[in-house]
């Protein structure tokens, strides 16, 4: 009976590895008690309490008076190196929220979606922290909603507009050889909805009579969709040091060209005179008639894509890869795609149905240490970091968990909304050379596991657990910069230092096997092999001080393959 109860805990921990940003012992026990299905349903019922945009503004408002105080208003307002709400205020808001939120499943799904519908700070988007936060809010609010709404709100979001350049995208001007911008039109099809190849429900390609995969669209289709996404402009203007709120939005205004000067937290608005007139051909023989409004055209185009049979298997597989395994079977994809197509009540695109199908699939629930390699995935470096902090209740005295995460991002090439391009950090079909490629398996995360990042990660884990350095929190402005928080030693506040709570672990540390078993449960849900446990135990038994022993155990646990591969 006791044994059985423990097994349930391990199963709960495994679920939380897939369904949260990292869970502590208490949460694991709660899930074990509630039961997996019920817990997922309970998570669905939790209201979306967070507001990343609002928190980003609050953090900016914490710093902006300090810039003025230290450098003088005149300097701040007129300096060429502008003082504006840059991306790092959003990063602080993200970390603060991620470390505190108990909306486990919603946060994990939001983060997964942010790797499918991609924008990135590695662009001029870094000029607007509130804009990045607001884009994330769209994914967060709709994480348990409908995929059609996600696609629509993403298409109208000004940050996507800047990222894929359909903001201020004018209709054709044949006299001047100007055609509508094709960027967003291409990527909404290739990456955000249907993909390049016609798919069967199980994700396998549909082939023509010669056995060649059938493309979902061609360049003419892109040109037609490019016409759809013309005529969108910003909702208004913003500058921190002057009130532009009553200044009406205009087409081709010079302020339209930068996320720093427009309202990036409200949807783009239509300018009908700049929208391509005439009818447009959509996919699968649908045509939108001439003379429709911008938003009607966009709604029709979104519907056209949303109802394409590819969306279920295409988006389903991408979500599966973010949550559970790199190599779902065709049957698994099909079970998820069918839920996308119909949640059981005739609704298409219901995220709850899709999420539950992914997390409770037999292929996943029955997986364990002895399962075949096709249920594996390399744990994303950022999820290892969030888990390290969440599993041991990261806190600081000030309550401002405003981690920047810059060092981490630099070292391992991963941070939230920080991929190198719209193709995310890694491609879904990436195969590292060696046995994984030889077995014809996919392993996207290995694309950022290089001789540089793999070692950098180990050095970061050393920083965390051996050096007690869990992140970068600054709350003060210093003389060194007039437009960024100061990370100079003299300006750091000891109340902001992040610390972790290892009380429960320290108490049992004298018993090395008990300590390792606890970490094995919390961190992996029982993935540590006998060999791994023995290696760690043998090493940590050389240290008698309980706290140091816990630190050694954590360091070794976080770098070992049994932890990093789930």
């Amino acid at each position: 009976m006791v044994k059985q109860k423990e097994d349930i805990k391990y199963q709960a921990a495994r679920l939380l590895n897939m369904a949260s940003m990292g869970a502590n012992y208490q949460t694991i026990s709660e899930v074990a008690q509630t039961g997996i299905h019920q817990w997922i349903d309970n998570q669905f019922e939790l209201p979306a309490r967070e507001n990343f945009t609002k928190k980003t503004w609050q953090i900016w408002e914490h710093f902006s008076p300090q810039y003025i105080q230290l450098f003088g208003r005149d300097y701040i307002v007129n300096h060429g190196d502008a003082v504006i709400p840059y991306w790092y205020y959003w990063k602080m808001a993200w970390w603060d929220t991620i470390l505190k939120s108990e909306e486990h499943l919603r946060q994990r799904i939001t983060y997964a979606l942010s790797q499918i519908l991609v924008i990135s700070e590695h662009s001029n988007l870094q000029l607007s922290g509130p804009g990045m936060a607001n884009f994330y809010d769209v994914l967060y609010r709709n994480a348990f909603g409908n995929f059609r709404e996600i696609l629509y709100e993403v298409a109208l979001h000004p940050m996507m507009g800047f990222y894929l350049s359909h903001i201020n995208n004018p209709k054709s001007n044949h006299a001047k050889n100007i055609h509508p911008d094709e960027n967003f039109a291409r990527e909404i099809m290739q990456l955000f909805s249907i993909g390049l190849i016609e798919l069967n429900t199980d994700g396998s390609p549909k082939c023509d009579s010669q056995g060649k995969p059938i493309p979902t669209y061609d360049n003419n289709d892109i040109k037609e969709f490019a016409k759809i996404f013309t005529g969108l402009g910003p909702a208004g203007y913003y500058w921190p040091w002057e009130d532009y709120s009553h200044y009406p939005s205009e087409w081709a205004n010079e302020y339209n060209t930068s996320p720093a000067t427009v309202i990036t937290w409200k949807p783009m608005i239509p300018f009908e005179q700049w929208h391509e007139p005439g009818s447009k051909k959509l996919l699968r023989d649908k045509v939108v008639p001439a003379g429709q409004s911008t938003l009607k055209d966009i709604n029709d185009a979104i519907d056209n894509l949303f109802h394409h049979p590819n969306v279920g298997p295409f988006i389903g597989r991408l979500l599966i890869q973010r949550l559970t395994t790199s190599n779902p079977s065709g049957d698994y994809i099909k079970r998820v795609a069918l839920k996308f197509n119909d949640n059981g009540q005739g609704v298409r695109g219901d995220m709850k149905a899709v999420i539950k199908a992914i997390l409770t699939d037999e292929e996943i629930l029955n997986a364990n240490t002895n399962s075949k390699e096709s249920t594996r995935k390399l744990k994303e470096p950022l999820l290892r970091y969030t888990q390290a902090l969440r599993a041991f209740n990261a806190r600081n005295m000030s309550g401002k968990l405003w981690n920047w995460g810059y060092q981490f991002d630099e070292a391992v090439s991963q941070g939230v909304l920080a991929s190198p391009s719209v193709f995310n950090f890694y491609l879904p079909d990436y195969q590292p050379n060696g046995p994984i490629a030889a077995a014809d398996l996919y392993a996207p995360e290995y694309q950022i596991h290089t001789s540089a990042t793999a070692i950098n990660y180990i050095n970061l884990v050393h920083e965390w657990f051996i050096n007690d350095n869990y992140g970068e929190v600054a709350t003060k402005v210093g003389k060194s910069s007039h437009n960024a928080p100061s990370y100079e030693d003299d300006d750091l506040d000891p109340n902001d230092y992040i610390y972790l709570d290892f009380q429960e672990e320290i108490v049992i540390a004298h018993d090395a096997s008990r300590l390792i078993e606890r970490l094995n449960l919390i961190l992996t849900g029982g993935e540590f092999s006998m060999q791994t446990k023995a290696s760690i135990i043998k090493t940590i038994e050389k240290e008698r001080d309980p706290e140091k022993r816990v630190k050694l155990a954590l360091f070794l646990s976080f770098i070992c393959p049994d932890y990093c591969v789930t």
Binding site: P170, N183, I448, K538, T539, P561
Partner: protein, 465 residues
């Protein structure tokens, strides 16, 4: 057994190829092709390196290399409309073409202008991915095979690296070159292919993989705890090596562990070699692209210590997808590129090795000649640069197309159909690098459609013979 070796912090240069992990390091030797290929570079001075710069996103290269004579400039200005660079800003290139055409360079590239005029750099014009030779008419009538995912970033950038545009492949021609000739390097541990930008397709072959170093950390990185004498670190060292040495049956786990072990091992050797070369007099600008070139120069300077006869280097310079604000953004990026190329060439001349290092650009595609308002969209053929003392410099190879709309190279939408294939470009580079005629088809599977490897003539002629 070999734990001590793994943890060892000094005397790196003496680590032999039989140390721990060496079984995973002997890249290339199992390739059946290797058996039949005698590495031909036995002369002590025989060193050659290739530096591949991916201008990721699709460089708008018809604004990099621009018609200069009045007649052709006017056609350019009309087609490019509000994207055209004013004539008086262009940097005029020396050497008129035989057909009387003149060319100018983007105003932000004075270093490249000088390199070109000094005969150290050439362009190849209207080059792109092709499965087989194809005219506009054949394209429009769908008579020939077209690259998969034409005009799409992921596919086109991939195909410049794979040289197999008819399929989606994850192996690159730089990797396949390493499969063949890597065994000629006396260093059996560190890959011939060094990446400054992490994982990339260009440098992955059937056996070869890239070795990733980073300018931001000054080169390679090692596990700090293994180099430390702090009491806790002394304890955990044993645990680190036993966890990473263990032979994991699960291939996801073994791949994870071996990458780390391999990287640590290589770091000891690599960092020791680099610390033994004196610093260069030549200076580099303070940005990531120049820093990458500086690190490459330093690595080349350490070639003999490292035991390298053949090396490739890869830099991914991202951010060229200028659908928006192409004029402003491309200007600053071309300036960065131009400056870095000039600095790198100076450093190579200081090292007296400029004739043995060839630097070349690749990019997803050229961009539409016409404007989308303030940017340009994905297209096909474009212009590339190739630099080094081994290059027949000061020339424009290939056929610079007419920029008139609806010309016989405009397949519609101001998209240029390439008139030179990437295969011809790569074949000439590979031959210079030392790939034998008989191995060219392994490196470039489509080459016979564009060039006869047994031919006495070069594919294009931009390398000195």
């Amino acid at each position: 057994m070999s734990r001590r070796r793994f943890i060892g912090t000094t005397s790196c240069a003496t680590i032999s190829s039989t140390t721990l992990f060496s079984s995973i390091l002997n890249l290339g030797v199992t390739n059946s092709l290797v058996a039949g290929t005698k590495a031909s570079f036995n002369h002590p001075d025989d060193y050659k390196a290739l530096v591949c710069i991916l201008l990721s996103g699709g460089n708008d290269s018809f604004n990099m290399l621009v018609p200069y004579d009045n007649a052709n400039y006017n056609i350019y200005a009309k087609t490019r409309s509000n994207l055209a660079i004013p004539h008086n800003q262009l940097l005029k290139l020396g050497n008129q073409r035989q057909d009387g055409r003149q060319f100018g360079l983007h105003p932000s590239m004075p270093e490249v202008q000088q390199l070109f005029n000094n005969g150290k750099l050439s362009f190849i014009s209207n080059i792109g991915t092709l499965v087989e030779p194809m005219t506009k008419l054949q394209y429009l009538r769908k008579q020939k095979m077209v690259p998969v995912g034409l005009l799409s970033h992921a596919d086109q950038a991939q195909q410049w690296m794979t040289a197999i545009p008819q399929t989606r492949s994850s192996k690159g021609w730089g990797g396949r070159m390493a499969d063949i000739i890597q065994s000629g390097n006396s260093n059996k541990n560190i890959s011939m292919n060094i990446s400054l930008s992490g994982t990339n397709i260009f440098q992955v072959g059937d056996n070869a993989i890239e070795y990733a170093i980073r300018a931001s950390t000054g080169g390679s990185v090692g596990i700090n705890a293994l180099q430390s004498n702090a009491p806790l670190d002394k304890i955990l060292q044993g645990g680190v090596s036993s966890l990473l040495e263990h032979q994991y049956k699960d291939i996801f786990k073994s791949t994870f562990a071996k990458k780390i072990a391999h990287a640590q091992h290589n770091h000891l050797e690599f960092s020791s070699a680099l610390s033994n070369v004196s610093s260069l007099q030549s200076s580099f600008s303070d940005n990531n692209i120049s820093a990458n070139f500086a690190l490459i120069a330093k690595t080349i300077a350490a070639r003999n210590i490292l035991g390298m006869r053949r090396q490739t280097f890869f830099i991914n310079f991202t951010g060229w997808d200028h659908h928006d604000m192409v004029l402003q953004n491309q200007r600053s990026m071309l300036a960065t590129l131009s400056k870095a190329l000039g600095e790198f060439q100076n450093a190579l001349e200081e090292l007296k090795i400029a004739d043995r290092v060839t630097t070349f650009t690749i990019s997803d595609f050229g961009r539409t000649l016409t404007s989308n308002g303030n940017g340009s969209d994905h297209a096909w053929g474009g212009n590339v640069m190739i630099m080094g003392d081994g290059v027949n410099g000061g020339k424009i190879y290939g056929n610079y197309p007419s920029l008139a709309l609806n010309s016989n190279t405009d397949i519609g939408g101001a998209i240029m159909i390439p008139t030179t294939s990437t295969d011809e470009y790569f074949a000439e580079i590979a031959q210079w690098f030392g790939i034998q005629d008989g191995d060219l088809e392994y490196v470039l599977p489509n080459i016979n459609r564009f060039y006869d490897p047994k031919s006495k003539d070069s594919p294009i002629g931009f390398m000195k013979t």
